[in-house]
Amino acid sequence: MSPSTVKLIGAFGSPFAHRAEVALRLKGVPYELLLEELMISKSDLLLKHNPIHKKVPVLLHGARTICESLVIIEYIDEAFDGPAIMPTDPYERAMARFWAHFMDNKCAKPFMLSVWSEGEVQKGFLKEVKENLALLQAQLEGKRFFAGESIGYLDIVLCSLAHWLTVIEEATGVKLVADDEFPDLRRWAKEYTSNEIVKQCLPDRDQLLAFYTAHLERYKMIAKAMLQQ
């Protein structure tokens, strides 16, 4: 199957769509980016190809449809030739998958709620965010990237910590991480965001800030709904 039949349904500012783009670019796979305007409505194309979750990213490869960013990354790694994204050793792969699962299932909600909620509730989530960041920082073990000397699966998965975190702090006025906290994560964030491949598909910081600022109320509502679940 020729790589030119690859399309990615994404959205500006989505760290999940960014994950898929980085994976494609690391593998050297040309693709067409189709942008959704999620704050307005979801396109028929998106609803057709992801009827279950109705979310971005969705990878279209010829007649194939792949949903869920973590599934997409592993698919890109296995379906195309190019530098490996996942570690090769089974135990290291298990560790990478474990921390990816931790990020998406354990970190996402406290992170959201620590910036978009208020009062005592917010304090609790702030504490949890710091605990989660400490656990993640420990996985760096002084390496340049989570994957070692070069970018790999876990670096891509944790991208929102490298770029989105400070933007959201600025938009909401909530400081999650003090300037002297988590120095290894800070160093890694700089490495990640200055990587030549990553830079090609990282949303512009000012535009991202404007995006969150414009949609503050919307995110507060989403956080409120999350809290009730």
Partner: protein, 224 residues
């Protein structure tokens, strides 16, 4: 506890845990011997569990020569990749088939997640959770289609990810507002078909046992 922790395979488990059962089925399908270490989940957790899974403090955890792997689907993929020449492959070889397997195995968690809400919520919210629960089963039934197993002719990753939740369905009926009659017929037939496999039959407990367990732990599960 008998045996060495630092040699071979040890599964930290809890008898009725569907997540533990996923791993048991996988190990049985591969024909791998392992030591089962039943853990205390209600009350003090063992030092071993806390050391093996400090992040979540949950079962299942697989120890392989002393090194821990946690998260049921991560464990199953690890088993498949660390023992490639032992027993059948749990995931298919083709990248697209693997992607579909990973998607649907992860989705099967929704049976448990949404099921919990059917118990825990009240009134209008419970009604919505119930509707979502029925939708989840419909989606899974749609993916299964007319195939004998989710991956086609062979039992595999998605089947072992989903089947442990099936004995819980009568409890969702009993404690929530779900009716077992609403389980799509193809999915019901698939459940029986999986149950005929030794790996599944030996790993799962009947619905009555699950029900008994839940009756004793209502508070822990938010059931009234």
């Amino acid at each position: 506890m008998a045996g060495e922790i630092n040699k071979g395979l040890v599964l930290l488990d809890y008898w009725v845990s569907p997540f533990g059962q996923r791993c048991r089925i996988a190990l049985a399908e591969k024909g791998l011997s392992y030591e089962s270490s039943e853990q205390e989940l209600f009350g003090a957790k063992s030092e071993l569990l806390l050391r093996a899974n400090p992040v979540h403090k949950k079962v299942p955890v697989l120890l392989h020569d002393g090194r821990p792997v946690a998260e049921s689907l991560v464990i199953v993929q690890y088993i498949d990749e660390a023992f490639p020449c032992t027993g059948p492959a749990l995931l298919p070889a083709d990248p697209y088939a693997r992607a579909r397997a990973r998607f649907w195995a992860a989705y099967s968690d929704q049976v448990f997640e949404v099921g919990k809400r059917v118990w825990q919520l009240k009134g209008e919210e419970r009604k919505q959770a119930r509707e979502e629960f029925v939708r989840v089963l419909k989606n899974l039934d749609g993916e299964l289609g007319e195939k004998p197993f989710f991956g086609g002719e062979a039992f595999g990753f998605v089947d072992l990810a989903l089947v442990p939740f099936m004995p819980w369905l009568p409890s969702y009926e009993r404690y929530g507002e779900f009716s077992v009659a609403e389980v799509p017929p193809r999915l019901a037939a698939w459940t029986r078909r999986c149950g005929e496999r030794e790996s599944v039959a030996k790993s799962l407990y009947p619905a009555e046992k699950v029900n008994e367990f839940l009756a004793q732990h209502k508070d822990d599960y938010g059931i009234e």
